[in-house]
């Protein structure tokens, strides 16, 4: 028998999922798919994560081209279907092809809606070159490429997509403004109070400017975008514009082909186009019982019904619509919403809780003892339970407050053993409990392994705790530890706190003794991390085995591409003297130093020094090391401050020097770069340092921690505002010590502070909630006391051949000489 021909128009999330469901039911078709985009099938919702830089492009593909080949599917990628001939039962592609079908599936999705704004389009050329929409992988790539070379973006539209776009763009350029036409953010999902709470969080926590009630009327700039103009004539300067003002179903093709189209293509409960026996419609282009959806969860259900029906697996299958919930995928900003925003009937029950200072707003709306709406802003801990109660109409607890808060005692969690296998766990990626269980059964025993394989938990992340519990359960108790992930170093199977306990218990003072007692085998890649930890724990009692050190720490300089080294003398707070400058100049001249350069850390770098010359150069310079090589306290950048600057309100230079003087050379899990700036104009970039101090009016100092402006850009969190320089110095030491003791190896403060949480850090460091402040201070004081300038190690080598050349193979220098 000749197989039936199934043609699918649209190779997006709904089209591909429908085919997967058909294959899973053993559907025996000759399948052809058309996709306008030139790729296999990818997870569109993860584009937000790609833009935000938390996911690689390669990680979002669901089915690569092999999948199509393996399943005998003919894929026409990059081919658009222009016309359906219902009479002759053929579809016509943009490549001139004509393909016959017995069954047709339309899954054309939606396109970005671009409001009629003057200047958005350039006649004959499509979008203005600085204007983007956010729908496809190509859109995302183009946006990233362009944003990286520009500085200020305006995102038009303050819904889910606009917020995710704005957050993602911050990863690529410095300044983002979100312009929303309505009175508050996410107005389709949130009521006004929730929207305003969210706005404050977006502005304060993320640093995105938000304009509400802002109707964009024009995009300014002829060749390049220079700004947007609002209806009230306000102009916002920018060089990138992203339109996120909504979506419109791609239903034109269906309409042109004579199908019934209202907002989307009208379908019945079997997902067939109205009045058609052989044409199905699925996903965002479908209109079912008057609803058009803009989220993925409904399409997982639609695809199942469609597959049941077209394969005959269950001819009675019917789709009855979906109860949808939405979550915002912005790290650190929790928002979940479902159903009603506010009560609508007189006897609807409303529970509302607001704590604007913490950015929290929550409500639930109950009708006839069923949940008909809920909003969570700033605290998603109850999201999973509420979504479930909402989607399934579960009975609610008598004590309604339990819907919003965990009321002491262990939360009454439903046993995962009792969940049916087909219950969906991850709505973003459509993963059921059964799929998680089979993944574990197939040998994948860790939570992260299961997440990678099934993609569960990789969308908005809300379901991660449940995924964890299911994987634990499927493993018959506890999931296997994601071993290496939690270890401090790969070669010793222990997380940092345990490792520190063991080191103290067995009094392990050298790296080799740690391997011998705890690791089994010596591991080259773990030595440096262990050396750092032992030195922190034991101070002067540390038994220093030089082979445990990385080359930079063996010779107190930073190795370069040709095996030479760079020499950066200390220059506290970036302040120097004519005499010191003269000395540096003389040494550089005498030795023909290939390059003398001002560093980004406010000091002078002598580059291209052969190893064997290091001791002599240090001796001639006779200055302390600037530690521009180790995982250690590096620099304190300062600005000129109140002594010279007309705006200065604090003596930032003196404080910066004092801090560097005290904490110089202290080692830690990662580099520690600090700054002190004389006023909030922030010329010393203190907001983006591991610890940054800002003088403010009234003789006060603000201390920010966890900032970064390297591979990651993050504004620091305000740790405390204090009244004196002495307090700054004490809190700096205490914070650094707390980080030294708790940060993972190579975990910079920009990762550590958000991981631990600024509230917790503040409680320990500022408020001494755990009563360990004095101990932290004492241990830091001991480390400070043990400081020795490593450049003094020059008269006598510490080991035989410490400074012997390792590679005089090529004639040095290989680096260019810029004298």
């Amino acid at each position: 028998m000749i197989k039936q021909r199934l043609v699918v128009i649209g190779n997006g999330m709904a089209g591909a999922r429908t085919v997967e469901e058909i294959l899973a039911r053993g559907g025996d078709f000759d399948i052809t798919m058309f996709g306008d985009e030139p790729y296999g099938n990818y997870n569109r919702i993860m584009l937000s994560n790609v833009l935000a830089g938390v996911e690689d492009e390669s990680g979002i593909f669901l089915n690569d081209l092999n999948w199509y080949a393996d399943n005998g599917i003919t894929l026409h990628a990059g081919v658009r279907v222009d016309r359906i001939d219902r009479r002759r039962r053929t579809v016509h592609g943009s490549d001139g092809s004509e393909t016959a079908y017995d069954k047709l599936v339309i899954a054309t999705g939606s396109s970005a809606f671009v409001p009629p704004i003057k200047g958005a389009h350039v006649p004959g050329r499509g979008y203005h070159q600085g204007v983007f929409v956010f729908r496809t992988l190509d859109d995302t790539r183009a946006m990233i490429r362009y944003a990286r070379e520009h500085e200020r973006a305006v995102v038009i539209g303050g819904g889910l997509l606009g917020l995710e776009a704005a957050r993602g763009l911050q990863n690529h350029l410095g300044h983002v403004t979100l312009v929303h036409a309505m009175g508050h953010l996410m107005n389709t999902q949130l009521n006004e109070r929730a929207g305003r709470t969210l706005q404050a969080t977006i502005e304060q926590k993320l640093g995105i400017d938000v304009v509400v009630d802002g109707m964009t009327t024009e995009i300014l700039g002829k060749h390049a975008v220079t700004g947007v103009k609002l209806a009230d004539r306000r102009v916002i300067d920018c060089d990138v514009v992203v339109m996120a003002a909504g979506i419109r179903p791609n239903s034109q093709l269906a309409a042109d082909s004579g199908l019934v189209v209202e907002r989307g293509v009208v379908v019945d409960d079997q997902m067939r186009a109205a009045g058609e026996d052989d044409i199905y419609v699925v996903g965002e282009c479908a209109q079912h019982r008057g609803e058009v959806y803009g989220l993925v969860a409904p399409l997982w259900d639609q695809a199942k019904v469609l597959a049941d029906h077209v394969t005959g697996a269950n001819a009675a299958a019917a789709y009855e619509g979906s109860q949808v919930s939405t979550k915002l995928k912005v790290a650190g900003v929790d928002v979940a919403a479902m159903g009603l925003q506010s009560p609508e009937h007189e006897d609807d029950e409303l529970l509302e809780f607001a704590e604007p200072k913490r950015g929290v707003y929550k409500n639930v709306i109950i009708r006839d003892d069923r949940l008909v709406g809920a909003t969570l802003v700033g605290d998603n801990s109850k999201a999973l339970a509420l979504i479930k109660a909402f989607e399934k109409g579960l009975p609610l607890p008598e004590d309604r407050a339990a819907l919003l808060f965990d009321l002491g005692g262990p939360a009454a969690e439903e046993s995962v053993a009792d969940m049916p296998d087909d219950e969906q766990v991850c709505n973003c990626n459509g993963v059921s409990k059964g799929a998680l269980r089979s993944c574990v059964d197939a040998g994948c025993k860790t939570v992260s392994g299961v997440m990678d394989k099934t993609r569960a938990g990789k969308g908005c992340g809300t379901c991660k705790p449940l995924v964890q519990r299911i994987v634990d359960w499927a493993n018959g108790g506890e999931a296997e530890e994601d071993s290496a992930a939690s270890y401090y170093v790969p070669g010793v199977p222990m997380p940092k706190p345990e490792l520190m306990d063991a080191i103290r218990l067995y009094e392990l003072r050298s790296v080799s003794s740690v391997f011998a007692k705890l690791g089994g085998e010596e591991d080259a890649k773990s030595k440096m991390g262990l050396a750092s930890l032992l030195k922190m724990i034991w101070g002067a009692e540390y038994v220093d085995e030089r082979d445990a050190r990385f080359i930079n720490d063996r010779v107190h300089a930073n190795i370069q591409r040709d095996g030479t080294f760079s020499v950066v003398p200390q220059m506290k707070g970036g302040v120097t003297t004519p005499a010191n400058l003269r000395r540096i100049a003389e040494v550089a001249e005498r030795h023909g130093v290939p390059m003398v350069k001002l560093t980004g850390g406010q000091r002078i770098d002598l580059l291209g020094i052969p190893k064997e010359k290091l001791p002599q150069i240090w001796a001639e310079l006779d200055m302390p090391s600037g530690y521009a090589y180790a995982k250690s306290f590096r620099t304190v950048k300062t600005c000129v401050g109140s002594d010279f600057c007309r705006f200065g309100v604090g003596d930032s230079t003196a404080l910066g020097i004092a801090i560097e003087e005290r904490y110089q050379g202290i080692e830690g899990p990662g580099k520690m770069k600090l700054a002190v700036t004389g006023c909030p104009r922030n010329c010393a970039e203190a907001y983006v340092k591991d610890l940054g101090v800002v003088a403010i009016d009234g003789g006060k100092w603000e201390i920010y921690v966890g900032g970064a402006a390297g591979a990651h850009v993050r504004k620091g969190d305000l740790l405390a505002t204090v009244g004196s320089a002495d307090e700054v110095i004490t809190l700096t030491g205490r914070f650094l010590q707390y980080y030294r003791e708790n940060g993972n190896w190579l975990e910079r403060t920009y990762a550590w502070v958000p991981r631990v949480g600024i509230e917790k850090i503040r409680a320990v460091v500022v408020d001494d909630a755990e009563g360990i402040a004095a101990d932290l201070d004492a241990r830091m004081a001991a480390a400070v006391g043990a400081y020795k300038d490593p450049w003094k190690e020059r008269a006598e080598p510490a080991t035989p051949g410490q400074f012997r050349t390792s590679l005089p193979l090529t004639v040095l220098p290989q680096v260019p000489v810029r004298a």
Partner: protein, 98 residues
């Protein structure tokens, strides 16, 4: 057979480079006291292998942290192999058989 010098020239757990007939050879002294010799130049981008960190099995190049098996010279990270040379300690002297 060549004598490179005293084994004491190489600190325990480290490596040093020796020039032998125009060849550069990195000799490592493992923590169990045994020695290994490899070509001194990293096949990746010419890094100085003798400046790398070692354990009983591998040397990690200091420049981009790729690693090589000390016994076989095979890369443990998908790079080209390096040459290995027979080397031993006799009466505290480092002897290279070459």
């Amino acid at each position: 057979m060549r004598t490179l010098g005293s084994v004491g020239d190489i600190p325990l757990g480290e490596g040093r480079t020796f020039a032998v007939d125009g060849e550069m050879i990195a000799v490592f002294r493992l923590r169990d006291g045994s020695v290994r010799a490899l070509s001194a130049v990293c096949p990746h981008q010419g890094g100085p292998l003798a400046d790398g960190q070692i354990d009983m099995k591998q040397v990690v190049c200091p420049l981009h942290l790729y690693s090589w098996d000390l016994a076989t010279g095979c890369s443990l990270s998908g790079q080209e192999a390096v040459s290995v040379y027979p080397v031993r300690v006799d009466n505290d002297q480092l002897i290279l058989e070459m």
